[in-house]
Symmetry: C2
DNA sequence: GAACACCCATAGGTACTACTTATTCAAGAT
DNA sequence: ATCTTGAATAAGTAGTACCTATGGGTGTTC
């Protein structure tokens, strides 16, 4: 099955679907990237004419942005861009928009710090809760990462890396952790795009992934946790070197 | 300043503001609590007549629910409730709706597990990054918790407890952690409401809070982290006893 | 002259209607 | 049995008319 894509996935990127998604796909990033700094007041009429759509469409897009706490709409005033502290920074759409924007590296850093907190705990839980199928998946994915690493195939490496972390988070049995799979995917993708200069992945990281898979399989929660922590702090350190 | 309340806060609870927020405040919880189980198809016309509002209003509410990934709207089909794995469980509104609903205790558990992962790391970072003002705040809040504990004043205890954890998360200097302050507030509130039977807070927890404040003040990251971990695992254990 | 109350212009909020378009389901052709 | 085609349907879009809250300006009062 070739990764079938839901109509919603397209819509979120503003490709398919309704007009309001297109407006959202332009306005969202514009705000998230700081193009319209906090305090800016947007007028519905302006947006209407700027995007060449009806008021209905603009209002729906604004409602969504409001739900993400990016803007606040008030009578007699307009649509005000809120301070960044108000934003729902956990919303996958907001994360994507910000990563696409200006201070990408600052974003990557704070997201990687989050990983450092969450993933080790998730790995520890996964050692207790993973199904035999998930254990097998992890082993296979780690092996494929190793293979891709040897072949210096960065694309394949990324795909398996993302899949690996996603399985760990899902195997933890905690829905909150599981939902961070998308976040991790964005971070890893962003990271690879960032230092495209590197020719091959860090062999040490590969080894750590293999050992995490082994630890989960062996039901060794302590080892799984500390190995995953090593992976994450490694990622954090790497980031500090490349983008101070 | 008496905790001034923004018009948006009201709107989110469906009190003030527009009609669409009222629809959202009814429909959101109905979905999040499982009243409309995943797979259910809602028709816009139905909602329109059920809530006695115009189509415009319903559509805006639906757009917001769609942004939270609670539902998916498709032509010729209707508004379909998505599987829970799709939901944006980090959205504060979704968290609140779910905590108000049926399996509150399962929610509390998965949220507390998240705390166990995040808060210790945040405390460690706070030990490095907290401003003198934040250090002072923590000390004061811990003292007030102790006082409220001795007086068996659960309400005051809750307020200071929430404030304490919020300051730690903010002091970490990581915006992702900072935004989890609201989540922690919901969890603590939910927890207190849950075992209202208890007459006084755990004195051991109080001591731990005081020691966290001291560790942060002393810039001892390792101690701050492990003490905060004790607080969180304590909360988790407590929860396991009360709601197995 | 400062504080207060009042009024009006404004910009978002709501409603209603007409029309468009994608999509499903089914009937009929191959 | 499978593919094509078409009609029914329900969401999407547009445009308009009207409602309503509210910020700021005006005028009055002490």
């Amino acid at each position: 099955m070739p990764q079938q894509e839901s109509p919603r996935d397209q819509r979120e990127r503003g490709e398919g679907g309704g007009l309001h998604s297109r407006v959202l796909a332009e306005l969202g990033p514009a705000i998230a990237s700081g193009e319209h700094p906090p305090g800016t007041v947007l007028r519905i009429d302006d947006l209407e004419s700027r995007y060449g759509v009806s008021r209905t469409v603009v209002r729906e897009a604004v409602r969504v942005l409001e739900a993400m706490h990016l803007v606040e709409s008030r009578r007699r005033v307009g649509v005000t861009v809120l301070r960044t502290e108000e934003w729902n920074v956990f919303d996958p759409a907001v994360i994507r928009w910000r990563l696409a924007g200006a201070d990408r590296s600052r974003q990557l850093k704070s997201l990687t710090t989050l990983r450092t907190a969450v993933e080790p705990v998730a790995a520890g839980l996964a050692a207790d809760a993973a199904t035999p199928g998930q254990c097998r998946e992890l082993t296979v994915l780690a092996a494929e990462m190793a293979a891709a690493g040897r072949a210096a195939d960065l694309d394949a490496y990324l795909v398996h890396d993302i899949a690996f972390h996603r399985v760990v988070l899902e195997a933890s049995g905690n829905e909150m952790f599981a939902r961070l799979g998308d976040v991790v995917a964005e971070v890893l993708t962003g990271r690879t795009e960032h230092h495209v200069m590197f020719t091959a992945p860090d062999p040490e990281a590969v080894t750590l992934h293999v050992r995490v898979a082994e630890a989960v399989r062996a039901r060794d929660a302590v080892a799984a946790e500390s190995l995953m922590r090593e992976i994450c702090v490694g990622a954090l350190r790497e980031l500090d070197i490349l983008a101070p």
